[in-house]
Symmetry: C2
Subunit: 344 residues, 2 copies
DNA sequence: CACGTTTTCGGGAACGTTTGCACACTTTTT
DNA sequence: AAAAAGTGTGCAAACGTTCCCGAAAACGTG
């Protein structure tokens, strides 16, 4: 803000004290007498003094801000994560700067470096579906920037991570389809680069195995761009439908909604015949037709936990060397009984 | 970032120049010889020099950041607006700090003041549904903080504003219901505090008038919290249904989805019998059941335009005195033919 | 050659904080 | 009574920039 605002100097002058005394009084340091503290506090209150965070940052060499990278904020899951992040961050006196990678590696790298040059104190990141090379992150991390990964995490990076129990979420969803009598279950998923893709695939396979259903690789379709392009989704659906699946397990938020949309567009009839189970944090699933069984991730909590870990790293006196990977349970929300047809 | 990074001083020392010369060379000022400039630039490039934005901000008394206040980011409309804002802001070298009011006046005020103390250069805000008193904004504005309102704007505040053509959007939606043969058209809307509420009500009334349908005040239900609480919505729906409307026009994104949800919950049968038209920017409307006619706002564009106006204010040499209110057209997306029932 | 101009550069203050150190004064200890 | 310890405060440097001002060098011009 370029407009006039009272500074510590003004207070010092007005009260006939030195800036150091005022500063210390404001920070409630032990060296200052109660009397002076009260005086300063009262006056500061009166003139509505607000410490200039920029000057503070320059002096303390930190900005009290943390960067967030997600693929997009217009996404139920991520916007809920962000809410969790904000809840903790604001509480602890940090503000957050959000950037979107739009599932592009280039954009992600650009944004991270922009944030780093903006003097963030720490970074919270879910990798883009394109990302394979995370050396630029390793570099920043090596220079001292605390980083916590969430949701989409790299395997070979020693730091805190927060993820959902993707294996179990996928297992539950697939098992649910099997228990509903489905046998030919397709799997639509994200880029192979992503940890979530691999973990969810394993869950899917494990469920099939448990019920002695053979794993058919051609029933698995990968979307390199995470469903950002509708053409990609339509292509996948077109390839999948001829295999006549009676169920489909979809592995991410955007993919789930995008896939249903693509199925309706490609072949509206079949969309209602295939049982759908998918990861999504949409709070509108009850409105969807066809309806589906959804795997909900504890997004808000994930944001909270990740932020707490990050702040603990930022505020640690000495370098952290013990890292943990928190795994949060997902929730299976079973499809509503379709009581719809009599009303159409 | 607290980790070591090269400064202008380091460059100066290494090159045997003064900091002023280096600074000027970096900023490409005319006083510096081409030769020296090249030397400095080359060295800066070599050591990967990045100007410290915090020091810069302190010196220049501005932060190159703009604040955004929306009611929530987990909202199709707002997240799209934010995308538009970011597109322009990043392009012009600003970064954005997003805050959510959650439709609470208290939270809104708190966030705005937090942002202001964080030295934002300007503010982009859509008022919360609770907000009536905007004196605190007037105060900040008076002190020199540029503010641009979008979507939910106050009437008595002289500054740039960007809104959708709410009157026409509401008119079109209502007319569409009328032309579909509906005669008892309810209207579910936001808090009366909001500009969008008033404008959309007028559009609704105008459409009724055009077709000689009497306006029935009891068919209009207001939601003070903009549908943040589901109880509020269910209450409204419970009051509305006994009046036997055959159509309903809903006035905002969250309200539209929330209302359908509430109708399905309260009386699933009737949900499919009432024709629905509502404002929403959800990209999933095609998935909804019951399906609906939607009024889409040019959210992305709204963000872009608002940001351009704000930046023009921020960068204006002298105080801006000519303000404009940009009105952007909405788009009516007609309900899909329900080809659904034969597939259920 | 003496003078003004232009070009190119450096010194140093300033932005608003925080903090190590020194200093003065009071109280306690030996 | 002198020394030590404790208490409260101020001075000044520092964080990394930008920019005003002055000065040295190079260049005409008469």
């Amino acid at each position: 803000m370029r407009f006039e605002t009272s500074t510590i100097k003004d207070i010092a002058k007005a009260l006939g004290l030195s800036t150091s005394t005022v500063s210390r009084a404001l920070r409630d340091r032990y060296e200052i007498s109660e009397e002076t503290k009260k005086l300063v506090l009262a006056y500061a209150e009166k003139v509505n003094y607000r410490a200039n965070p920029i000057a503070r940052s320059l002096k303390e060499r930190r900005s009290y801000s943390i960067g967030i990278i997600v693929s997009e904020i217009a996404n139920n899951f991520f916007s809920q994560v962000i809410n969790g992040i904000e809840a903790i961050a604001y509480d602890r006196g940090y503000h957050v700067i959000i950037s979107q990678s739009h599932e592009s590696y280039k954009q992600e790298k650009l944004n991270v470096e922009h944030l780093a040059s903006r003097s963030i104190d720490g970074l919270l990141i879910a990798l883009s579906s394109e990302t394979q090379d995370i050396d630029y992150l390793r570099n920043l991390y090596g220079k001292g920037l605390p980083i916590v990964f969430f949701d989409r995490v790299p395997e070979d990076f020693e730091t805190h991570k927060v993820i959902a129990n993707n294996f179990k979420g996928a297992f539950d969803a697939t098992e649910h389809l099997i228990l509903s009598g489905k046998r030919t279950i397709a799997h639509l998923t994200n880029s192979e680069n992503l940890s979530i893709t691999r973990e969810r695939l394993k869950g899917y396979q494990a469920a099939l195995a448990k019920y002695n259903i053979g794993f058919e690789p051609e029933l698995v379709k990968y979307c390199q761009h995470g469903g950002m392009h509708s053409a990609e989704l339509e292509q996948a659906v077109k390839e999948l439908l001829p295999l006549n699946p009676d169920g489909i397990f979809i592995s991410s938020d955007r993919l789930t909604t995008g896939c249903i949309m693509a199925m309706k567009k490609t072949n509206p009839g079949v969309a209602h015949k295939i049982a759908i189970a998918g990861f999504t944090n949409s709070n509108l699933v009850e409105l969807f037709s066809p309806s589906l069984t959804s795997v909900k991730q504890p997004a808000f909590e994930m944001g909270q936990v990740a932020t707490e870990l990050l702040i603990s790293m930022i505020e640690a006196k000495r370098p952290v060397t013990e890292f943990e990977t928190k795994v949060l349970d997902t929730e299976l929300v079973r499809m509503q009984k379709p009581l719809g047809n009599r009303f159409l």
